[in-house]
């Protein structure tokens, strides 16, 4: 849904198609936020556009959709972020377009019980952080797990607000 849609219209549209979530995108196609039923209900000002209330959106986490399967370390990293930021869901993107929303419960279900923090092995550092970046210019801060490193290892730009520029590693 475009961000210039009014909150009331957004609610009505969601109810019309019985969607679990709506993904709000800016005029440039950037994801501005994900809203579920409770989040939409909490937005009181129905005549405001979604842009006008974007600062009330929950934290946005964008996960790269390629490759299709999350490696265990990526899953652990995502799970850790979900807990830390108290997220209800994360957005999955493929080719710069929203591809789906993964709810928190699905991530909890997927966590393998027999290898909860990866494996204590003797090569490399098991505590090496995954490719996780944060834009602290966003309010609240937004996160990205691009999965594939950018050319030259540069952090990606903020996906939410185009002029925020480069994100920083989320240590």
């Amino acid at each position: 849904m475009r961000d210039d849609v009014e909150v009331g219209q957004a609610r009505a549209a969601r109810e019309r198609v019985n969607a679990e979530f709506i993904v709000v995108v800016t005029s440039d196609g950037n994801p501005l936020g994900v809203l579920g039923v409770p989040e939409l209900a909490e937005l009181a000002a129905t005549s405001e556009t979604l842009t006008a209330v974007a600062h009330l959106f929950p934290t946005l986490v964008v996960v790269g959709g390629d490759p299709d399967e999350l490696a265990p370390d990526e899953l652990f990293d995502l799970a850790e972020l979900v807990v830390r930021e108290r997220l209800r869901f994360v957005l999955v993107e493929r080719d710069g377009q929203p591809a789906g929303v993964v709810p928190r419960a699905a991530i909890a279900d997927a966590l393998p019980l027999d290898a909860l923090d990866g494996l204590a092995v003797r090569t490399g550092n098991p505590m090496v952080p995954a490719l996780r970046y944060v834009c602290r210019k966003c309010a609240p801060p937004s996160f990205q797990l691009p999965r594939v490193p950018a050319e030259g290892g540069r952090p990606p730009n903020c996906r939410r607000v185009f002029f925020h520029g480069a994100t920083e590693p989320d240590a």
Binding site: T51, A54, L111, L113, D114, R122, F163
Partner: protein, 1258 residues
């Protein structure tokens, strides 16, 4: 709607929410654009408003270059809608943004577009909005900024003139465009335009003198001198104290012949009191006064006021700075000359030259010398002019020569000037004339020599006649010059320079080498190079002795060591040395020398007396030498890379330097093109090669043609060529063997095995033929025999070929070349195996499999790999003792399994048609942790199923993998039935009977002090043996000692040079291990993925250790610790190693979470804080695996208190792991499964199947 959006955005901004404001405006802008696209005329006005707002909002957060897109989009929309004011506004803003983004050219384009649009400026109206187009002041300001940037920063006067012209058309009453137009036109010497623009500028700013002064300059240039003076008059009237304007007017007056008016202005300038500056810093006011004084002197002379001029000149000569005093001396000299006082004139000009040498002063003094009949001195001065201006010197000396045709010095100086003026043909004429009169003048002789190799700017005939004869003539002349003036550096340095370069040209080098034997040297004067340059002559002498044969690199290096300051000769010797290395297959040495020689290419273009300037005077010589040297470098570089197998690199090197005019060069390139698969391009070279080929080249060319046809699979054409050329060569010659080899390939491809045998019979190889030819011949014959169904004969043939291959391999100097040779001939092994199988010789096939594998592993220095037959006996003995041998062989299109059972010397063979890469590829696409055991069993179960048909449960399976099968845990498929022990090759069994009692152990653990579990594992293993482990910093290399068991619980490195990492930065590499005598009966490499470093394990076997335990992938610490302790305990209890490992693996797989928790709890008592924390995390892991999320979280929460007060990286990591695990457990608690402590946390093969036993299984 848009108004509401705008208000909303402004409110957000007022509330400090900038992001929100930008997003609101951005979405509004997107909507406005969409409506514009749909034809909503009102929306365009809002697009303008919102674009402007958006630009303002992003000004502080985006660079100018990043803000152009909305304006580009607006421009496009406005253009489509025909809304000129909107388009003008967008273009104007784009000009500003591009200017700020440092793109002045793009800004200028937009500025030009602005000027096109200005006439259509107006008002943009929409519902409720009325937008004025850009106001003229803004437009003017932007255009002025662009013009300013182009003029002052870019100095792009053409662009400024164009822009300012149009700018002035639109703003005729503004001085700014006229300023830029006038000044840019003046800089471009468009003085008529400049006069018009500056006149208008002067009208617009009547009170400013600057435009008038600039105008006077342009007026002067268009010969409107009165007006120029008038303009200056006005300027002076406006700024009467400005002395510069008066000086300018004086110059105009002087140029116009109004000397008195000029003098009046100059007097005003000179009359201004200006002190002489101190400290050497230039003072513009003082300089102006000096310039005026000099101009005044010249005007006084012109007016005939010589006395006055002389007096003032003498004062200036004594008091002024050097340039002014020099000018005063020049005036004094001219006055003396005019008075006929030559001696005085010479003194004055000499004084002038002492202060500041110039061509003008030299000319003046030379004229005086000539007048005084001092011709030698006159010629010398004019010769000195050559250094300043050779063409001027030629002109003046030609006059002198005409006036004094018999004066030798003048001819000499003119010859020199002509040489410097790049007219060597005329120089030779003049110098030859001088030489007739001055036969012993070394300069004349040297210049005559240099003229022969100097480029002519006067005409192409001279340059076209450049050749080796002229070079040799130059060498001869310069040699003579050296002998005429042995102490002069000039001719010696030039001769040395020339010989060094010229030797790169083969005809010159050959001549010089031959001429050394000619008494009295060579050339017109019988030049004696040995006397002139003894060191160079000595070098050439030794060269002629050493180089023509096939010298050893050491001999050439000795010759090279004596070469000093001769870069090209040195490079040529480097290349000869590279040849010598290439003959010995020492490619890296050759490449190093080629690179060294290549650096000399830079020296070729350096002239003899200057290091930095490019040598343009001898460009024909430089071009020839450069081309020859580059060709030589390219040929060697290409050959070396070809040897390395880098065909693309070889071709690139050849393309870079080898031309199309030499058969060998072109042949080499064609061969490379063929070998890189660009066959058609190689074929395209054949006609040219045929043109260049001599009779001696015909056979090579024919073979190339045939191989090209072969590459194109045009076998008939190849056969035609080969059958045509074969009868023309001697049957026992090398050429014949090559042709026959290729013809055999043709017949094999055409499935004509009988013709192959016929050829082999008719053209037997001589006994002394190269081994590679013999090998190929045997192998080809064997392939033909296969085709005829004679598999026994074929197998014999392949074996004969392999004997040669293995002999050659044994003689190769290093491991790299042996590996490369082995890889090239693996196909022969494979064909030999298949032929033996087809012949029913299963024993022979198995033996060949062993030979094929034997060479794939590292060898101990000084040891041959294949003591095959003896070691196979060991295996044969073994298989009589309750074991079964299962040896795999992966061929190109199938997998073979040889099973050798107790009591039978004849194996049973199974085979599967399969692409080995596809077979195992899926396994390597994921980590072992992700292995699906059922899918693995389904995929690879069939490969091991036949083994169980030949052994009873409990028999040891001696598994010999091959190729990628080495990396697969095939033993996991037999866990419940048979212990498995691996052999790297059936030919590489246990080298000697080793210790089979496990009483003592050397245990090294956690050398880095950062791996708590490795430490715990080492402690557990040591406890089994009742010994003390060497932990942390104690785990050093020198602790390696004699023991029954060596257990290394360490990190490892797996790269090109795998190694176990020990304490204090020590490591144990493959080469280290090969150099050790290890007396242990078992070495365990409990490092991660040590199996991935197979070389390391095999090196241990070669070091004499009968048994090695290693892992195939990264291993989990806790499970490894449990597995190893159990394994050793079982071995010490008397179980054979294979059985002990299998049972320990089974037990580990069956271990329940409850047992793991109990194990951890048991060890917790008395553990140090770090070990206790690790155990708590292990316990948490087992609890989590059992689904007890709450219990696991409780264990994690204990970690922090346990580690209280403990520092160090290990403790830090454990804390972090505990925290992370708590986080994940918290999430998992939201979806917790049922609790079941009977869960087996290590049931997955990842935990238990990682380790394999290699070597002796007992």
């Amino acid at each position: 709607m848009f108004a509401d959006r705008l208000a909303s955005a402004r409110q957000a901004l007022a509330e400090g929410n900038h992001d929100q404001a930008v997003l609101i405006v951005g979405s509004g802008l997107a909507e406005a654009r969409r409506r514009c696209d749909r034809g909503d005329g009102d929306a365009l006005a809002w697009t303008v408003v919102l674009t402007t707002e958006f630009d303002a909002l992003t000004e502080d957060v985006l660079e100018p270059a990043e803000r152009t897109r909305p304006w580009e989009e607006l421009r496009a929309l406005a253009r489509r809608a025909g809304a000129a004011p909107a388009e003008l506004g967008s273009v104007l803003r784009l000009a500003v943004l591009h200017l700020r983004a440092d793109r002045p050219e793009v800004a200028a384009e937009h500025a030009a577009a602005v000027l096109d649009l200005v006439p259509r400026n107006g008002v943009l109206r929409a519902d409720g909005v009325e937008i004025e187009g850009p106001d003229p002041t803004t437009i003017h300001e932007v255009l002025a900024d662009v013009a300013h940037d182009l003029y002052y920063r870019r100095e792009d006067f053409d662009a400024v003139e164009a822009l300012a012209g149009a700018f002035a058309g639109h703003f005729p009453d503004s001085p700014i465009p006229w300023y830029f137009l006038g000044h840019s036109a003046a800089r471009l010497e468009h003085h008529d335009d400049a006069v018009r623009a500056l006149t208008r500028l002067a009208e617009l700013v009547p009170d400013a003198p600057g435009p008038l002064v600039a105008l006077s300059g342009s007026l002067f240039h268009v010969d409107r001198r009165q007006e120029a003076v008038a303009a200056l008059d006005q300027a002076i009237a406006l700024a009467p104290d400005e002395a510069r304007y008066r000086y300018f007017r004086a110059r105009v007056h002087a140029a116009d012949g109004r000397a008195e008016e000029a003098l009046a202005d100059l007097d005003d300038v000179i009359g201004v009191p200006v002190p002489r500056p101190r400290g050497g810093r230039p003072d513009p006011a003082r300089e102006l006064v000096d310039l005026a004084a000099v101009l005044r002197l010249n005007l006084l002379v012109d007016l005939g006021r010589t006395g006055e001029a002389g007096a003032e000149a003498r004062v200036l000569a004594d008091t002024a700075d050097e340039p002014t005093a020099g000018a005063a001396y020049a005036v004094l000299g001219e006055l003396a000359f005019d008075a006929g006082d030559h001696r005085r004139a010479i003194v004055c000009f000499t004084a002038q030259l002492d202060l500041h040498e110039s061509a003008e002063a030299l000319l003046s003094r030379a004229a005086t010398y000539e007048a005084a009949d001092l011709l030698d001195a006159a010629a010398a001065d004019l010769d000195a002019v050559t250094a300043h201006d050779p063409d001027l010197a030629v002109e003046v000396l030609s006059g002198l020569r005409e006036r004094h045709p018999t004066h030798a010095g003048t001819a000499k100086a003119l010859g020199h000037a002509l040489l410097r003026a790049l007219d060597p043909a005329r120089a030779v004429e003049e110098l030859a004339a001088a030489h007739r009169r001055l036969p012993d003048d070394w300069q004349v002789v040297a210049w005559l020599g240099l003229a022969a190799i100097t480029h002519s700017a006067a005409g192409d005939d001279w340059n076209a006649g450049f050749g080796s004869r002229r070079v040799l003539d130059a060498v001869a002349r310069l040699t003579d010059a050296v002998l005429l003036a042995p102490d002069e550096p000039y001719p010696r340095r030039h001769l040395r320079w020339l010989v060094d370069r010229a030797c790169a040209w083969p005809p010159v080098l050959e001549f010089l080498l031959a001429a050394r034997d000619v008494p009295r040297g060579f050339g017109p004067g019988g030049a004696d190079l040995a006397a002139a340059l003894p060191d160079v002559d000595d070098l050439l002498t030794r060269w002629s002795r050493v180089v023509p044969g096939e010298p050893a690199p050491a001999d050439l290096a000795a010759l090279r060591s004596g070469v000093r300051d001769l870069p090209v000769l040195g490079a040529l010797l480097d290349l000869r040395t590279a040849d010598a290395h290439l003959r010995r297959c020492q490619v890296s040495e050759a490449l190093g020398l080629v690179a060294e020689a290549e650096r000399a290419l830079l020296d070729v273009g350096r002239p003899p007396l200057a290091d930095l300037l490019p040598d343009l005077d001898h460009r024909e010589l430089v071009a020839v030498v450069h081309a020859e040297l580059r060709k030589a470098v390219a040929a060697r570089g290409s050959r070396a890379l070809h040897r390395l197998g880098d065909l693309e690199g070889a071709l690139e090197a050849a393309d870079h330097g080898l031309g199309d005019d030499d058969f060998d060069d072109l042949y080499q390139r064609a061969v490379l093109l063929r070998d890189v698969g660009r066959v058609d391009e190689a074929v395209g070279r054949l006609p040219r090669l045929a043109e260049l080929a001599t009779d001696a080249d015909r056979t090579r060319l024919a073979n190339l043609e045939a191989t090209l046809h072969l590459s194109r699979r045009d076998f008939d054409a190849a056969a035609d060529v080969l059958e045509r050329v074969l009868p023309t060569v001697a049957p026992d010659s090398y050429d014949a063997s090559v042709f026959v080899g290729n013809l055999i390939s043709v017949h094999l491809e055409r499935d004509e095995p009988a013709r192959v045998l016929d050829l082999v019979d008719r053209y037997p190889l001589p006994a002394c033929a190269q081994p590679s030819l013999l090998l190929d011949r045997y192998a080809m014959r064997a392939v033909a025999l296969c085709g005829l169904g004679d598999h026994r004969g074929a197998a014999d043939g392949f074996r004969a070929a392999l004997e040669i291959a293995e002999d050659v391999r044994a003689g190769l100097p290093d491991r790299e070349s042996r590996s490369s040779w082995q890889a090239t001939h693996l196909w022969v092994y494979e064909q030999a195996v298949l032929a033996s199988l087809a012949d029913g010789d299963l024993v022979g096939a198995l033996e060949l499999v062993g030979r094929a594998k034997a060479h794939a592993f590292p060898e101990r220095p000084g040891h041959r790999a294949a003591a095959v037959s003896a070691q196979r006996l060991d295996v044969a003995v073994a298989v009589r003792g309750g074991c079964v041998l299962a040896e795999f062989y992966v061929a190109a299109d199938r997998v073979l399994l040889f099973v050798l059972t107790p009591g039978s010397a004849r194996p049973v063979v199974y085979q599967w048609a399969a692409d080995p890469d596809e077979l195992v590829g899926w396994f390597f696409d994921r980590s072992a942790r992700e292995l699906d055991p059922d899918a693995f069993a389904e995929a690879f179960g069939p490969l091991v199923a036949p083994i169980t048909d030949h052994c009873a449960p409990g028999d040891v399976v001696l598994l010999v993998p091959h190729g990628e099968l080495h990396h697969l845990p095939l033993h996991a498929l037999l866990l419940d039935r048979n212990p498995v022990c691996r052999l790297p090759s059936s030919g590489l069994g246990h080298g000697r009977p080793g210790r089979r009692e496990w009483r003592t152990a050397l245990v090294l653990g956690d050398p880095g002090g950062d791996c708590a579990h490795a430490r715990r594992e080492a402690e557990a293993v040591a406890e089994v043996f009742g010994t003390r482990p060497a932990l942390g910093g104690e785990a050093t290399r020198d602790r390696l000692s004699d023991a029954d068991v060596i257990h290394l619980a360490c990190r490892a490195r797996f790269d090109d040079d795998p190694a176990v990492l020990l304490a204090d930065g020590h490591e144990l590499t493959v080469q280290d291990v090969l150099g050790l005598e290890i007396g242990a009966g078992l070495v365990t490499l409990a490092a991660c993925e040590s199996g991935a470093g197979e070389e390391l394990a095999h090196a241990v076997l070669h070091a004499g250790v009968p048994s090695v335990v290693m892992s195939l992938w990264e291993v989990d610490d806790l499970s490894t610790s449990l597995l190893m302790a159990d394994f050793y305990a079982r071995a010490r209890s008397g179980a054979g190693l294979a059985v002990a490992l299998r049972d320990a693996q089974s037990a580990l797989a069956a271990t329940t979470a409850r047992e793991v928790v109990a194990h951890c709890d048991e060890r917790l008592a008395g553990a140090d804080p770090v070990t206790a924390a690790a155990l708590l995390l292990d316990r948490a892991g087992a609890q989590a695996a059992a689904g007890d999320v709450v219990g696991a979280a409780a264990s994690c929460r204990e970690v922090d208190p346990v580690l209280a007060g403990t520092r160090g990286p290990s403790a830090g990591r454990l804390r972090a792991r505990a925290a992370r695990r708590l986080t994940l457990l918290a999430l998992k608690a939201e979806s917790a499964p049922p609790v079941d402590y009977a869960t087996r946390p290590f049931a997955h093969p990842y935990h238990w199947a990682a380790f394999v036993l290699v070597g002796d299984w007992r």
